[in-house]
């Protein structure tokens, strides 16, 4: 779907450990993205995984990895990463 007047080009995928209780952080980040971008995202995809994973990719670029970067991402940093790709 293309939203009139918007550039629909960013797809965000959040891969989270489904056995680690990361659902609140996942939903909070998805909510922050929805609030910041509305219809300007082509998709926000939530992928349940294992092994303590919390990865965020934008158009295939890994912008945060718990294994690589430690901890959960700052929502503002993810928003900025998305904005840079719109």
């Amino acid at each position: 779907m293309r939203v009139r007047g918007a550039c629909v080009s960013a797809k965000v995928r959040i891969t989270y450990c489904a056995e680690c209780g990361y659902e609140p952080q996942t939903l909070a980040l998805a909510s922050a993205l929805m609030t910041a971008f509305g219809g300007r995202l082509s998709a926000i995809e939530l992928v349940p995984w294992l092994d303590g994973t919390f990865d965020v990719s934008v158009n295939g670029d890994l912008v945060h990895s718990m294994a690589r970067d430690g901890g959960f991402p700052d929502a503002a940093a993810v928003v900025a990463a998305v904005r840079a790709r719109l």
Binding site: R13, T15, E19, C20, G21, E23, V47, W49, L50, D51, T53, D55, S57, G60, L62, S65
Partner: protein, 200 residues
Amino acid sequence: MRIDAAYFAQGVTYEAFKASMTRNREELEENERAVTLDPADLAAFRALPRPLHVVAVAEDWCGDVVANLPVLARLAAASGNLDVRVFERSKHPELVARYMKEGKFESIPVFVFFDEAFREVGVWIERPASVTARRAERRLAIYASDPAFGSPDAPPADLPDEVRERLLAALVQMRAELKPWAEREVTRELRELAQRTVAA
């Protein structure tokens, strides 16, 4: 924070914890039924000179809790020598701060053993290191079994949906295959811990 009889009484029994679960209860109870206790392990717990109090920090969403808390509960029920009370991690940050894995990870379950005077005699956290290591070995083997899975260090989100689903199924299957052995490892470590309390 002092853990004494009054503090211990704030926890709930294993049965009450199960009754309060909002998810994974069926899987936890299936795990509980599937636990096979080795007679030698059980004898060791029955031979404890005095019952031990056990503070168990848990949450119903945690896979390691769902896998390992039933092992403790079965040992408690079968031996009659472990008095277990469950504390939800989210409601007891003081326990989280006190019993971090390697001093930095808020891992659960945490099983803390106390003697009759509430002197701490042993701590067990999350899962045996042997289980973590065996899973890691088998995970690498799974990645090596199919070039489509790519690098084990790459984020799974990079994989096409069909490949990622196949990989996830293989990882889940691997865990299921290791489960009986992993439970025996949990029992072995808890037995060793309990026996150390006697020696001390």
